[in-house]
């Protein structure tokens, strides 16, 4: 078993109104150092795979098919064997 931690964010070229609103709120709270905020989604998924390469291929396919919309979003993920297996 593997665990994938997947982060989905809007592409840099896409305006993120939620991020802008959070940034404005931070500034009004006095956190003037905050320069940019992008709001995204986080998925934690466990999956069966025979090895890490197979798991990686599967996670990519899952992201491309359903989890993200490539018109506006991009993703990164980390993959690790689940500890209960070791």
């Amino acid at each position: 078993m593997f665990q994938a931690k997947i982060n989905v964010t809007l592409k840099k070229s896409v305006f993120d109104p939620q991020g802008k609103t959070v940034l404005d709120a931070l500034h009004s709270l006095g956190f003037g150092e905050a320069e940019d905020v992008r709001v995204g989604k986080y998925f934690k998924m466990t999956l069966k795979a025979k090895d890490k390469a197979a798991a990686e291929k599967e996670v990519k396919a899952i992201c491309d098919k359903l989890l993200i919309n490539p018109v506006i979003e991009e993703y990164q993920f980390q993959l690790a064997p689940l500890e209960s297996d070791q």
């Binding site: 809007l10 070229s13 896409v14 305006f15 109104p17 939620q18 609103t21 359903l66 989890l67 919309n69 018109v71 506006i72």
Partner: protein
């Protein structure tokens, strides 16, 4: 013209669409449950508004994989008519039948109000009865109607006359004040390449009778009835 209204779990404008077809336009119409594999023999498929699958993941992202969608894609690819309204438009975007994607409204608010539209393309089966300079008063009701596409796609939509509707002022001017949600180029509706698939955020089915304060949406159904009868 015979139509069907596809019902997804979470659709909530399906009855309005059915009512307009059946009681206002007096045309044959039937519901199709999203789990069905095949569409009945119809000229027009209506993907109604609502919150299919609770808008989970992204608007329309799960509904596009409903069993019926394979036949909706076949129907569209064979050149027959499909109209997606609001959540129906979002499903068409996710399914790839129309280009682009929806972002949250730039105000981050759900907006439910009457707006003004003009038809940019007036030769499609959906818009051919709309007069030049005619301004349509039709309501919107959405949280994610901020149409986005890359610059090349926008150029392509403009060059191929695929912008069906733009948000305008009451006098018909395209400007930022008339743009309720931040959509690129004030886009409220677009057509596919063959112009047999229309996606639009405003709800013509909520503005097709005088009792609802506007019957400006009716011209879209009349255009379709004239083209497909």
């Amino acid at each position: 013209m015979k139509a069907c209204v596809v019902v997804f779990p979470g659709s909530n404008c399906d009855h309005d669409c059915w009512h307009v077809m059946h009681d206002v336009m007096r045309l044959p119409v039937e519901y199709v449950w999203h789990k069905q594999n095949a569409l009945p023999k119809v000229d027009l498929v209506i993907l109604p508004g609502g919150f299919s699958y609770g808008d989970y993941l992204r608007t329309g992202a799960i509904a596009r994989f409903s069993p019926i969608m394979q036949d909706v894609v076949r129907h569209a690819n064979s050149g027959r008519a499909v109209i997606g309204i609001c959540n129906g438009f979002q499903i068409l975007l996710e399914s790839g039948l129309l280009p682009g994607a929806m972002l949250r409204n730039d105000s981050l608010r759900f907006i439910c109000k009457h707006i003004y539209l003009k038809a940019v393309n007036r030769s499609s089966i959906f818009t051919k009865n709309i007069a030049a300079n005619q301004v349509l008063n039709i309501p919107i009701a959405h949280g994610e109607g901020n149409y986005f596409c890359d610059a090349d796609t926008l150029k392509c939509l403009e060059q191929e006359d695929r912008i069906a509707f733009q948000y305008v002022s009451e006098s018909g001017q395209v400007n930022m004040d008339a743009n309720p949600n931040g959509s690129a180029a004030n886009i409220a509706g677009i057509l596919n390449e063959k112009k047999n698939v229309l996606g639009m955020m405003p709800h013509p089915e909520r503005a097709s009778e005088a009792i609802l304060n506007s019957k400006d949406g009716r011209v879209i159904w009349e255009s379709l009835a004239a083209a497909l009868n």
